[in-house]
Symmetry: D2
Subunit: 361 residues, 4 copies
Amino acid sequence: MAGNSFGTLFRFTTFGESHGPAIGCIVDGVPSRLHLDEVFIQTFLDKRKPGQSKYVTQRREPDSVQIKSGVFEGLTTGTPIMLFIENEDQRSKDYGDIKDKFRPGHADFTYDAKYGIRDYRGGGRSSARETASRVAAGAVARRVLETAPGGGISIRAAMVQMGPHKVDRSRWDWAQVDQNPFFCPDPVMAEQWAEYLDGIRKAGSSVGAVIEVVASGVPAGWGEPIYDKLDSDLAQAMMTINAVKGVEIGAGFDAASLTGEENADQMRLGPDGKPVFLSNHAGGILGGISTGQDIVVRFAVKPTSSILTPRQTVDRFGNEADILTKGRHDPCVGIRAVPVGEAMMATVLADHFLRARALGQ
Amino acid sequence: MAGNSFGTLFRFTTFGESHGPAIGCIVDGVPSRLHLDEVFIQTFLDKRKPGQSKYVTQRREPDSVQIKSGVFEGLTTGTPIMLFIENEDQRSKDYGDIKDKFRPGHADFTYDAKYGIRDYRGGGRSSARETASRVAAGAVARRVLETAPGGGISIRAAMVQMGPHKVDRSRWDWAQVDQNPFFCPDPVMAEQWAEYLDGIRKAGSSVGAVIEVVASGVPAGWGEPIYDKLDSDLAQAMMTINAVKGVEIGAGFDAASLTGEENADQMRLGPDGKPVFLSNHAGGILGGISTGQDIVVRFAVKPTSSILTPRQTVDRFGNEADILTKGRHDPCVGIRAVPVGEAMMATVLADHFLRARALGQ
Amino acid sequence: MAGNSFGTLFRFTTFGESHGPAIGCIVDGVPSRLHLDEVFIQTFLDKRKPGQSKYVTQRREPDSVQIKSGVFEGLTTGTPIMLFIENEDQRSKDYGDIKDKFRPGHADFTYDAKYGIRDYRGGGRSSARETASRVAAGAVARRVLETAPGGGISIRAAMVQMGPHKVDRSRWDWAQVDQNPFFCPDPVMAEQWAEYLDGIRKAGSSVGAVIEVVASGVPAGWGEPIYDKLDSDLAQAMMTINAVKGVEIGAGFDAASLTGEENADQMRLGPDGKPVFLSNHAGGILGGISTGQDIVVRFAVKPTSSILTPRQTVDRFGNEADILTKGRHDPCVGIRAVPVGEAMMATVLADHFLRARALGQ
Amino acid sequence: MAGNSFGTLFRFTTFGESHGPAIGCIVDGVPSRLHLDEVFIQTFLDKRKPGQSKYVTQRREPDSVQIKSGVFEGLTTGTPIMLFIENEDQRSKDYGDIKDKFRPGHADFTYDAKYGIRDYRGGGRSSARETASRVAAGAVARRVLETAPGGGISIRAAMVQMGPHKVDRSRWDWAQVDQNPFFCPDPVMAEQWAEYLDGIRKAGSSVGAVIEVVASGVPAGWGEPIYDKLDSDLAQAMMTINAVKGVEIGAGFDAASLTGEENADQMRLGPDGKPVFLSNHAGGILGGISTGQDIVVRFAVKPTSSILTPRQTVDRFGNEADILTKGRHDPCVGIRAVPVGEAMMATVLADHFLRARALGQ
């Protein structure tokens, strides 16, 4: 209720500030007897980890996860799983400039307005560091999804736009996503982005991005019809990620320009006699419920607000001031949002899998 | 939990099918001693009511709301408010064609996959008729918001795009919104839309739209920081509206193309010595919490799936078929989504007002 | 959240005041394709209905339930089930005396303290009339439970104490429960109660009671282990019933006087090779989870606060006063609490059945 | 939802097994700018700590709490407070006997039935060790309550019955509670209990108890009227404590034997012109809402199930067996339930304080 938990049946609650002693989460609602260990979870954390290329922040955060409860002899027990990540790179430094000034685009002003106090060290609770907990929870969710009917759900994500530069979908190749530092499915565009982002980085600037998350193998019939729709839960999930300003499903905003004839996905029978759709403008969801097609979600990430150009602001005491955010920041924070988007997709699906099962589906 | 409730502290639960005896909702969490009567709620329902121009469905639904509980001698008592709307236009007719065939773009296929049964009459629970309950709940939410600090919250919405045609923001005039059947703030575009939609309607086709909802006067500090962010709750809220495929806040998807210098809203002191923002790319929300600026949300509505052109489909028995959806449908269902968007904004804000108050803000 | 909903997956929300136009509830989370009609629900409402003997209030409340949604052609559709009961016996009368005076033992004072306004007609929202909605929801829960593994869950309740007079458990006969107006399983005690309560009634007095609810056939393994324990949910459920002041499970308060040797239920193998317990001090629940034995819950109901003897009180304006509550009241409100206790047991079990199923049990 | 969280607005989620690496909780919904440090929380943990007299288990658990988030420079920040307690006394030993056999009275059988796996070391998740997390959360709740109107809420608890021996209420002296190892308010009975429990302990037996928790200074008007009643939340809260089998409010089960004249608490005006009650059979709650009188809750604790007398049981493989639970156990686990009862009262009140404030009370 207080804003640090996500999900209904598969539910996680996160804690921790970027420069406090630790971050982590409690994952509750995990069925028993699933194989789970720290190595599996670590795989996903490593994907999000900073310092892996020159295009992401050079902070060193090993992000080593420890399982503190809920797993016994390699199996989940059905009790809450506590995932604990110590903060190791807590440099002692002078935060004087951001202690009292509100950094434009950051949550400094609003946290101060809401709480009258804030842990100003590195953004505190509002730092994107919190997303490591989500990625850990997402790994657990994947384990849960392995037990779903069909058993073959795959969740993948890619960056499809950096600044104004969009990928060419005719060149889309999922195998490319792990071959470049941008999770880019288009090898040509990946090279363009490299050059473009290098310029942004050297200028001390930053740029936004669009991420696409795709889940394949989701059975038809998941999602609640009115207020806990699969798409509304996904929209909420993605919008909770730091810096996200927009979410769309399937054709998304382009659907506004389509006619009814163009938009509605027609159906035929497939070779196995089962219904197939002839297109997927719906993004795999109709009436809030999965159709069995790929679930396709895109979200827009704004440019990192921490830049090296001085910006106009005010401070807590009512004075005008300028501020320049030094430090080791991401020129395109959207890159590290890719595994976070995957994780949120996994937790939403795990939740709706359990909800569907509760109904006897 | 089962998908028919929305909100945490200000919370409503809806019921009813489009062709059942009644629809409505229970609104819970309403503080006591607020003035409330049926006339006030009816004002908002009338705005959404079908049959008001040739551009919306010609079904006659008087949508007369009755308050069945929670109000005594004109004042709320703090107990649940039950709002009841009888379905009057339940024409007895032959539903044979849609009884067994899945209409493309509708929820017929997914409801059947999930439940193995569906009330096929007019869409049943998946019909946009459910949104009348939201509009009624939204009216109650407005009453709650009148007691918020400042007391001057206004919530307005407009259609900003119909098919490919966008309004010219330099001509934006809120006073125009009530002067045309499209809730269009641009009088020139309103005339173009009239002609355009007439063509769509006569062709038995349909078209999508984009709606913008703006809340002014919201104090800084509303919203929970991580998972119940003000923007994630709004994204969820708008995505639950029938036919919505995308939601964005402030600069939204355009933020992906911006640099950090362009995007972050700088701050100065205003004439009264209070902080002011020099732009509003954030759409009034930073870190999930309101900044005090206008809260700006846009959502994309897909074209009505019921069209007069036959489409390919399959039926419940595994046969291929064609289907043509006759009846009195909206050529642009986005029009009637305008008051629904306003209502959802109102309920989200009322919820976060109560949540902020719980924290002593 | 606002106190008018109960349950997590099987969840109902009630509305209505005793002298408003209607009461009822929305039941959400009901799986699809269960047989349900008004006749079935009415059976349970009739059991609770006033006016059936001289020992209960002589108000006439036909309590005819109408299903307004969620059922199509005799089957549940998975969408919310709205149950609607019109208030018919809304006598127009002078409420002057209770309008401003706080009746001792009633919620008049606390509603006034909380809300600053109250519907004083017949108790308004705080009236036991609200329990009709629970009984209706309980009937739906029974339908859900019919689909549970084993399929043979029976829920029964009896009054085991009236005033100081307890039943003799050696004479317990479930068949007797429907043979007397007290739901008494002991035919000898039933006769004593008849005489005793007649005296109470004629004296314009009232008396308390203890009710026992027993669920048989519940599979082992239902209940969440820490905070949503089966017993803690039952304790909460029973304590929400008007006038209930105590709840116990199995040996209950008597367990305090037992030694570990006496209390713990030993186990052996039954004729079928399955574990059996040699006693049931646990009341069918260990560690919050069902054992497979009978689930046994008792709750204490205080005497009806409305009596014909004048009592000392104060009024809203700060004056001392005496009050005498006229009207058609129950000399032992515990009688009508019997079907309500059964209904709450049914809803708690239905909820935990769905929760267990979500976990793959 | 999955049973490891408690509360609505003031909400905590616990994790950890008795012999895992750590236990603890995340407390969410705590308003900002409250003074909080580990020393304050430790005070309450020390009260519950084992090994403090010969009457409680001699396990050494220092139970040193660490605050991992949510506090900055000695003040709460409004973000989740993570409380972490390392398990230090994890003796490596042979659990062979309890690994496969179900200890009567323990949750071994039901956890196995539900999950098909259990951490058998010392009870795992079902161990009363989990209550240390509640006590820590309760300390935070007390801080929240200090900011409530009036500011003078005190929460105290005492043991009022051990085995069949009840305190004499005419000798009740709160000052005595800290003067004996039983939290006994009656110095004469404390001596009798000492002798009695010594015999129980030497016999390797155990005995039950009744605890009374009293909250003074709670303003009138807290509690939601129907399903989140203050008394139903308290009943749920107390029933979640390990080994609790019954809960009552005010007169409790004795109310069943009273007449309406005896039970209802009459009212007069006090010296300050404010309403006063002439008795407190209601235990400070009417219609689910606080009256302003002392809130009085009692709960019954069953005898510790771990005893030195062999008991009949079965094992996981379907064999009959005998079991004798060695180890360092409490002869009367009710003693250590006293601070836990206080903690649960504190968390329920903190929750309802925030809820009342949300409504503008």
